[in-house]
Amino acid sequence: MEKDFEVKQEGSALTVTLGNKLYAVNSPALMEELVPYTDQGIEKVVFDATNLTLLSSSGVRVIMYCKQKLGASPEIVFVNCKEEVLEVLGLVGIRSIITFEKR
């Protein structure tokens, strides 16, 4: 499957631009791309969810990894998050650890 996400580092912040879906098919690849940033002083991870309409538990696992394993509890930011994705984040109980922004 073609890669439908992009990871960019700007100082201590990582920006992850997501595609239409973050699920079992592409989450492992994203996780693999994020692992090298572990313990590299990342303080903020920004997920650009402008196009994201489907978030599965595999995708949630990636978000949890960023929060728990990437560094010393970096800030997690979701940009332009749609209602259906918000619902999932609420269901799995991680809305409170995410900052939501509209751009």
């Binding site: 699920y23 079992a24 599965s56 538990s57 595999s58 949630v60 696992r61 949890m64 990894y65 929060k67 728990q68 999932v88 609420g90 269901l91 799995v92 109980g93 991680i94 650890i97």
Partner: protein
């Protein structure tokens, strides 16, 4: 080398003798104190003997080309034909029956099992009847421990009825043929063997109260078999975002996590590192009351349908019981330390020892031989796969072969093979090869079933043992030991026969009988020659003595196979095994002398 030779010759032995003695001692030591596979031990031993020049290339390969080794392998195919046409199931249905009295049950089980064992592999027969006996013991309401040991004794005693009944007989017959050029008939051992069998069965029936009455190992798992608990993770649970291991929800007291379902059923691997998410359904099995304590300690909630039958979980999975093998590499380790679960897509649910469930987290239990393990595994798990079977013995096989019309065909093939070889119409090798071909031709088993039925490991052990025996004979060790025996017990042939038999009988209780036979066959032969008698009866007596390995669970493969399923302790084998060993050996020697009067050379 010359210097070494002269030093060692000063002590009376050549360097070759010393190397062979050291190798034999090392073989015994490794087999006694380590978990290294017998076939590997044998192959390394003969490799060493070849490398240092004790054996030449032809001698080293002699075991692998021996007709008797080929016969053993081909018999595996014949056995597959009988097994997959349902002959054994027919026996269970029509011969075992449902006797009311325990003594009758013993007789109805031991007689047919021992007769079958005369022609079929002891190990395979013990495995097959292990499953059959479990069901039969339930029907009779008798503890399996009251049946497994007698079945194992019957299998071992029956193996001595013919030359092909057990590997040890094959080794002795092969040695005799190589040493004299004469062939032993398949039924040479029948009369003494039958007498030993008769005495042995009568002894076991008479002393049946000595047979241990142990709790069925499976009883410890009855609750787990029936029930599991499903707990949900609420969206405000403080453990969200932690891994199962970090939250202490992976290893729990009194039970085990066997499955996790996230909100969307996306595939997830059950591991300590899996993240906990709100809405997760955690499936536990074990002590229901203790698992429910997780509600309070970890802020979990029970599902609406929280206690349910295992069958409801997933139709692709089932609970299976396994026992830790005697030489399993899992002994002394925990399942958590091994890759068994990962490699086989199985999940350990519970552990029991001596019929009692262990309360600690199953994956953290340090395993012992005979421990009973309850696994959740995919329905199609091949529990006979070599990598799995070498560590764990699954006895609750679902395989039930239907009795089909080919049962008559396979029985007929077997009968014709026996008659033709007994009457010397065809050689044993020809007979077994023809029978194996016929089994395949008449579709009594498939090619795969036939190939899987050949125990390549046993064949390697057998071939290695034969070569080891060759080294013992070639270097003159057999002659020296035989001379010592004669000096100790005198030249009276019966005493010599009894002396060597008793020595073999003692050692076979702690070392696998194949190795013991390989060592003692040349010694017995030389002892007979030194007192001036025809060696054949002496070797027949040795067959019985070396097979009388009843007193410990480690003496032979069948002994190990019933240890876990019977829920036995080490000493259970001794109580009835020690007197039985002595009785059978002494009867064997007496019967051989009666059946084959000793003839001077």
């Amino acid at each position: 080398m010359e210097l070494f030779n002269s030093i060692f010759l000063l002590w009376g032995f050549s360097i070759d003798v010393w190397i062979t003695i050291a190798t034999v001692m090392a073989v015994i030591g490794v087999m006694l104190f380590t978990k290294v596979r017998t076939d590997a031990v044998m192959l390394i031993a003969i490799g060493v003997l070849f490398a240092v020049g004790v054996l030449d290339a032809k001698e080293m390969c002699s075991g692998f080309s021996a007709g008797t080794v080929v016969v053993t392998g081909v018999l595996g195919v014949v056995m597959a034909g009988l097994r997959y046409t349902g002959v054994l199931q027919w026996m269970l249905k029509h011969v075992f029956g449902l006797p009311v009295r325990y003594s009758t049950a013993l007789l109805r089980m031991m007689v047919p099992v021992s007769l079958l064992s005369a022609f079929l592999s002891n190990t395979m027969l013990t495995m097959l009847f292990g499953n059959v006996l479990k069901r039969w013991s339930r029907k009779l309401n008798i503890a399996p421990s009251k049946l497994y040991l007698p079945m194992m004794y019957a299998v071992q005693m029956g193996g001595v009825l013919t030359l092909i009944g057990t590997s040890t007989n094959i080794i002795v017959a092969d040695y005799y043929e190589n040493a004299t050029g004469k062939t032993m008939n398949m039924f040479s051992i029948l009369v003494p063997g039958a007498l030993c069998l008769l005495v042995g069965i009568l002894f076991i029936v008479a002393m049946r109260r000595w047979l241990p009455d142990r709790k069925t190992p499976e009883e410890a798992f009855e609750t787990a078999f029936d029930y599991t608990v499903e707990l949900r993770v609420p969206s405000d649970n403080p453990n969200i975002c932690k891994t199962l291991g970090e939250a202490g929800l992976f290893h729990v007291k009194g039970g085990n996590l066997i499955d996790i379902h996230h909100f969307d059923h996306d595939p997830s691997v059950l591991s300590e590192d899996e993240f906990i998410m709100g809405g997760d359904r955690l499936l536990y099995t074990g002590q229901i009351d203790e698992i429910l304590e997780l509600k309070d300690t970890h802020n979990l909630v029970v599902s609406d349908h929280h206690v349910r039958s295992m069958n409801e979980i997933n139709k692709n999975y089932e609970l299976r019981i396994a026992f830790v093998n005697f030489y399993s590499k899992l002994i002394g380790k925990t399942i958590g330390d091994s890759s068994v679960e990962r490699d086989n897509n199985m999940v350990l649910v519970a552990v029991a020892r001596r019929g009692k469930r262990i309360e600690a987290a199953p994956r953290e239990v340090e395993l012992q031989a005979g421990d009973t393990l309850l696994f959740e595994c995919p329905r199609k798990t091949n529990t006979y796969a070599k990598h799995l079977a070498s560590m764990l013995q699954f006895t609750d096989s679902q395989e039930v072969v239907k009795i089909g019309p080919n049962a008559i065909v396979s029985s007929l093939i077997m009968t014709v093979m026996m008659i033709l070889t007994a009457l010397n119409v065809v050689s044993l090798l020809h007979g077994t090869v023809l029978a194996a071909l016929a089994m395949l031709l008449f579709r009594c088993c498939t090619i795969n079933q036939a190939m899987d039925s050949v125990s390549w490991r046993s064949l390697m052990s057998l071939a290695g043992s034969i070569v080891l025996g060759t080294a013992i004979a070639k270097t003159g060790i057999a002659q020296m030991v035989a001379q010592t025996v004669v000096e100790l017990v005198g030249t009276q042939p019966v005493m010599v026969m009894l002396g060597v038999c008793l020595a073999a009988m003692l050692i076979t209780q702690i070392v696998e009988n194949v190795a013991v036979t390989a060592m003692f066959a040349p010694i017995m032969y030389q002892a007979a020659v030194q007192v001036g008698y025809e060696p054949a009866p002496f070797l027949l007596a040795l067959m019985i003595a070396a097979n009388a390995s009843y007193a410990t669970p480690i003496a032979a493969s069948p002994n190990m196979l019933v240890y876990g399923p019977g829920g036995y302790r080490f000493t259970d084998y001794m109580r009835i095994g020690i007197p039985l060993t002595i009785i059978v050996t002494v009867t064997g020697v007496a019967a051989v002398i009666l059946a084959y009067p000793l003839v001077k050379l």
